[in-house]
């Protein structure tokens, strides 16, 4: 088997992920590019007698080194080993896509252009002569429709053919003015016999484009001293001719002219066969007045679904784990082993797994938002509003991702180029309640409210968190991160039917990650919490109560004494001691030591709050059958304390993993300290307020 590596390059929203997903039986590997948190996707599969690896590079608009994605892609294309580039373009927007293509053509690498979304282009009346296009670019151009798996075999066959053949230089011709300056420099390089990875012409182009990478290459060579005046002279000519000193603008004009010329010759635009569907949908969804209410309605629907549909499988899972706990105790007995496995491990893990259905629905909603193209519309709708709070329309994307999990949300904030905008967004992401906090809310709202009210309560919780985040952003913008705003210029992709496979992939990855966490981290934490709540042993107390037991005959009385003993034992345990020690801090908020400990355990991971409560309350009960955790909560916690608890959970520091990512993304541990102070202070004050208000009203 021969090996072949393909670099997949294209602008955002051209269907690169779709292309990778369309290659059936391919194994998808998701990782990071070394040193940065830009996602690196790779697929591996066998085709004919080749073992093919495709590296999906981040979507970029150009190869300038402005954004981290551009840097990563450029570094990969220049420095890594690969056989050829497949440049994926959106056939319905060739003018924009070919700008990047023209930059790729200068890299002097083997390359194929995949004209994707041909089905849509056809519907819009766009006819492309791809043979003539291939000839003009001197780069093979193939028509494909990744969404319908059309043309993929041909594409791979072509890739193999190109990989075998020697390199064939693409034809990229600029205007006479620019070509003349290029020739001057390249002739000089040739005379001097300068050698680099690029040909003399392309190197000359890179120098004129003021490409830092190539300046760094030649700057230390003796040839530099003579080359400098030639470049200076050339630039001077260009400045005069184009009436601007912005070299990027000059080349942008040149590229646009080249691309326009090629498109005029190869593409015909007929009258569209159908009305522009995206425009039609947009006339409703981004309507100046109805747009935002419609968006809020969607979000409300998502939370309703999370609760309503999540409830049925949840009850089943709850019953399942309850019976597993009972059976485990039957088999292992009520001793140490039985208790650590049943009350520790299984109760803890069960309490977390129970919320898998809710998590799946939430992630499904976010994935749909993203793949249909609606996310960009929401950024459009909300930018005006967000801007008032010192945020950027694009902040919406990390913030919404934050409802799923804060870790990818912190990473998604990288799309914000302005340092201050990014920091503000990073600081308030935690206020968007993540999926791991959902179990706590579902548990508490489910315990205190009827089913219909619970979903609304959940919606209110999320909205309150988000609104608090906005206010915090404004405060940060006014007092801490003052300065210039980042411009808001963003592509609004066409609406597309989401691919089932792509959605399935995203959601199942998230679900598996959640389960994996439950099986490892949560399991360990649950056992730890169990041990901390059962040790040190207290034989004196036990004998004292055993004596009391002997004296009474009444069964009810016996249960009462047994309960009292368990509660006393728990209070004397390590966990009890920690809880007691920190109780003064939490008691103004209405929390007993059990809730205090659960919150502290939640610093490790928010799921642990629920599993800790699970362990604490299942230990407190002395009857043989485990009651639902919900019932326990309702029985043991007064409503004002529960509300205060929810508010605290809503606002306090994200989990350990998220905090680590936050520190990395924000650029230092000191920011994490700020975040800790900010979130703890807000959580405490708001809980105090909520607790007292609730006490007054109830």
């Amino acid at each position: 088997m021969k090996k072949m590596t393909i670099a997949l390059v294209g602008q955002p929203n051209v269907g690169k992920s779709m292309l990778i997903n369309a290659i059936s039986d391919a194994k998808l590997k998701v990782g990071n590019f070394s040193g940065v948190t830009v996602e690196k996707k790779e697929v591996m599969f066998d085709f004919k007698d080749y073992h093919i690896k495709i590296v999906d590079l981040p979507g970029i608009y150009s190869l300038k080194e402005y954004t981290i994605e551009e840097k990563v892609t450029k570094r990969f294309l220049l420095e890594e080993e690969y056989d050829l580039i497949i440049n994926v373009v959106d056939s319905t927007a060739l003018e924009k896509n070919f700008l990047l293509t023209s930059e790729l053509m200068e890299l002097e690498k083997k390359m194929i252009v995949a004209l994707n979304m041909m089905d849509e282009a056809h519907k819009e009346g766009i006819i492309i002569d791809n043979d003539l296009l291939s000839e003009l670019f001197n780069v093979p151009c193939l028509k494909i429709t990744a969404a319908k798996k059309r043309g993929l075999g041909k594409l791979l066959n072509k890739a193999i053919e190109i990989a075998k053949k020697p390199f064939c230089k693409p034809k990229l011709i600029f205007s006479d003015t620019l070509e003349e300056e290029i020739e001057n420099i390249s002739n000089f390089l040739k005379e001097k016999g300068y050698k680099s990875s690029l040909s003399h012409r392309e190197f000359a182009v890179k120098l004129l484009e003021e490409d830092k990478t190539f300046y760094n290459m030649i700057r230390t060579e003796p040839i530099w001293i003579e080359l400098l005046p030639i470049i200076r002279e050339a630039l001077k000519h260009l400045y005069i001719h184009y009436e601007t000193k912005n070299i990027e603008e000059i080349f942008a004009q040149e590229r646009a002219a080249f691309v326009k010329g090629v498109i005029t010759e190869t593409v015909t635009y007929q009258k569209s066969l159908r009305e522009n569907l995206t425009d039609k949908i947009d006339s409703i969804l981004i309507h100046p007045i109805f747009g935002i209410p419609i968006f809020l309605l969607f979000m409300w629907g998502l939370f309703q679904a999370t609760f309503e549909f999540g409830n049925y499988p949840m009850d089943l899972i709850d019953q399942f784990f309850s019976s597993v706990i009972d059976h485990t105790k039957e088999i292992l007995g009520n001793g140490f082993l039985g208790s650590v496995v049943a009350d520790g491990a299984i109760a803890g893990v069960g309490a977390v797994v129970m919320f898998l259905p809710n998590i799946i629905i939430l992630f499904l909603g976010i994935a749909l938002l993203e793949t249909t193209g609606y996310m960009a519309r929401v950024a459009f709708l909300l930018d005006g509003f967000f801007h008032k709070f010192g945020l950027h329309g694009k902040s919406f994307i990390p913030l919404v991702t934050g409802f799923g999990c804060s870790v990818p949300a912190y990473m998604a904030a990288r799309t914000l180029k302005n340092e201050k905008d990014r920091l503000i967004t990073l600081f308030i992401i935690g206020f968007m309640s993540c999926g791991a906090r959902l179990p706590i809310y579902v548990l508490f709202t489910g315990a205190f409210f009827s089913e219909e009210v619970a979903a609304n309560a959940l919606f209110v919780i999320y909205i309150t968190g988000a609104v608090f985040g906005l206010v915090a952003a404004k405060v940060l913008k006014i007092f801490v991160f003052k300065g210039k705003d980042e411009p808001f210029v963003m592509e609004m992709p066409k609406y597309r039917m989401p691919s089932f496979k792509l959605i399935w992939h995203t959601v199942s990855t998230q679900a598996l990650m959640y389960l994996k966490k439950a099986g490892t981290f949560i399991l360990a934490a649950s056992v730890l919490v169990w041990i901390a709540s059962n040790f040190p042993k207290n034989p004196e107390l036990e004998t004292e109560y055993a004596k009391k037991m002997e004296k009474v005959q009444n069964d009810d009385k016996k249960t009462e004494i047994e309960n009292e003993l368990q509660a006393k034992l728990l209070e004397e345990s390590y966990l009890g001691k920690i809880g007691k020690a920190t109780e003064p801090f939490f008691s103004p908020l209405g929390f007993d030591w059990k809730l205090s400990v659960a919150l502290e355990a939640g610093l490790a991971a928010k799921e642990v709050v629920v599993s800790t409560l699970g362990v604490l309350y299942s230990l407190g009960e002395s009857d043989e059958t485990s009651q639902g955790l919900k019932e326990q909560i309702k029985k043991n916690i007064p409503l004002p304390a529960a509300i205060s608890f929810i508010v605290f959970v809503m606002l306090y520091l994200p989990c350990f993993a998220a905090s680590a990512v936050f520190a990395k993304e924000a650029g230092g541990v000191k920011y994490l300290v700020y975040l800790f102070v900010m979130t703890t202070a807000s959580a405490w004050m708001m809980s105090f307020f909520a607790y007292n208000l609730a006490n007054m009203l109830i």
Binding site: Y61, S62, K64, Y66, T92, A93, L94, E95, K96, L99, N246, E248, E249, A252, Q253, A256, T278, D279, D282, S283, I286, P288, I289, G291, I292, A376, A379, F380, L381, D383, G384, F385, H387, G393, K417, D485, P487, F488, V489, M490, E491, M492, P493, K494
Partner: protein, 75 residues
């Protein structure tokens, strides 16, 4: 010449000048927004805060502050 933000929905125009700093210019250029490109205003959000424009068969969202820097000739 007029500002992009002065156009009404459905208006077509040709970009004549972009008075932006290098960073914003790069953003616009890489998305194909430059001199002599034809645009159409497709819509705006509440209070004309953000504009949706079509250029080169691509829809873009652009904030009022940035759109103010783009000068156009009506067609």
């Amino acid at each position: 010449m007029s500002k992009l933000t002065e156009l009404e929905i459905g208006a077509h125009a040709i970009i004549k000048d972009i008075n932006a700093d290098d960073e914003l210019k790069h953003r616009l250029l890489s998305m194909g927004i430059q001199k002599n490109v034809e645009i159409e205003v497709k819509g705006y959000s509440l209070g004309k805060k953000v504009f949706k424009i079509d250029a080169n068969h691509t829809a873009l969202a652009i904030r009022k502050e940035e759109a103010d820097k783009i000068e156009v000739d009506r067609r």
